[in-house]
Symmetry: C2
Subunit: 211 residues, 2 copies
Amino acid sequence: MKKRITIIEDNASIREGFSAVLDTIEKYKVMNLYSNCEDALTNLDQDQPDVVLMDIELPGMDGIAGTIRIKKQLPNCIVLIITVLEDSEKVFRSLCAGAGGYIVKNSNLSEIVQNIDEALAGGAPMSLSIARMVVQSFRQQQDSPLTDREIQVLQSIAEGKSYSKIALDLYVSKETIRSHIKNIYRKLEVSSKADAIKIANSNKWVTGRSL
Amino acid sequence: MKKRITIIEDNASIREGFSAVLDTIEKYKVMNLYSNCEDALTNLDQDQPDVVLMDIELPGMDGIAGTIRIKKQLPNCIVLIITVLEDSEKVFRSLCAGAGGYIVKNSNLSEIVQNIDEALAGGAPMSLSIARMVVQSFRQQQDSPLTDREIQVLQSIAEGKSYSKIALDLYVSKETIRSHIKNIYRKLEVSSKADAIKIANSNKWVTGRSL
DNA sequence: TTTAAAATCCCCCAATATGGGTGATTGATT
DNA sequence: AATCAATCACCCATATTGGGGGATTTTAAA
């Protein structure tokens, strides 16, 4: 069964270039080419793509919003973001939107084909630097002024637990938790949960995520 | 300058196998082989490795704890986890510990070399399925019973903000926030911040992280 | 070994936050 | 016409929070 591909890219020559190359590949079938998300979305049911090559900068709805819409309608469709620059904010938002990979536009066409193959094989094609960024986003800071116990308490605070609940979970008195909090506030020079969480998050002292 | 590599792996034949192959490569210099983290750590200053190939199951200190120690001492050292199975919990904890990649042991030796090259070139070598897992960990759920506004409020709650603070941020009355909270609790069938956050986190309705 | 830091616990106090209830209004969307 | 989303209001009782004093024990470092 040929893999169905649609391309959303406003630059006509790039669009046609991708299409021309992909059309020569046996296992691919280019369904349609679009210069904007709106048109692509109206034809999504007919196209039923397995893979969408999506430009991120588009007139009207941008590639990120488009990705969200596509994934909502076709959850198993793999959306690969094609872009010129590796803007970390856009990468992040694309991944949150459900993009299956993030590949750079200036790669040569054979690389693009490789990337599509990789995505279809169950992978997540990314440039080296993006892969590094993504992996490093998990990295927790080692150098924190807080002790392990304080981090543990702050983590619980970030989970929305009350002092009493934390005390129960850690098998200590509520007063102990209050002490830890006071020390945390003093060290971070804040005086509220929200401020402490903000600092802990930006420094990655607390997780908030899993695989 | 040759890249300095150390190998930590308790299985002698695998350890020697890696070493033998890597030693034939011009650009690499295998500094030392260890069967446990403890020995490797005592020699870390002498070895000064650019790359550590780290087994995850080890006698004594395991590979994850070892990774944390190594990164603390040599922050620029790249630790590549080598393992037989892709346990998502271990993958996650390895990445949090600062691992630069996660490669499977049964790959053939030329793949290992490729992976090391990729890591040194600024990438994050991973198997296809792990890359997919990692990327999907960013994915936010589209199907939530909550409205956009409610998600927004819940997100703020997860950031530790009080109702009043949220009200200020969203330019509405505190009573409005309370209304949203009540609706959120009703929809999620909970009656506390902590429970609501737990559900929102496990369903990835809130972010909590960036790149 | 002296010192410092971490982790544990206790009391007081006042202001704020929270959760539940019962409403109402406006504007979309269907 | 009916539903839902978003907005706002008031009542009430309890829980939580932040800040101020302390204290003890264990552990780690100087």
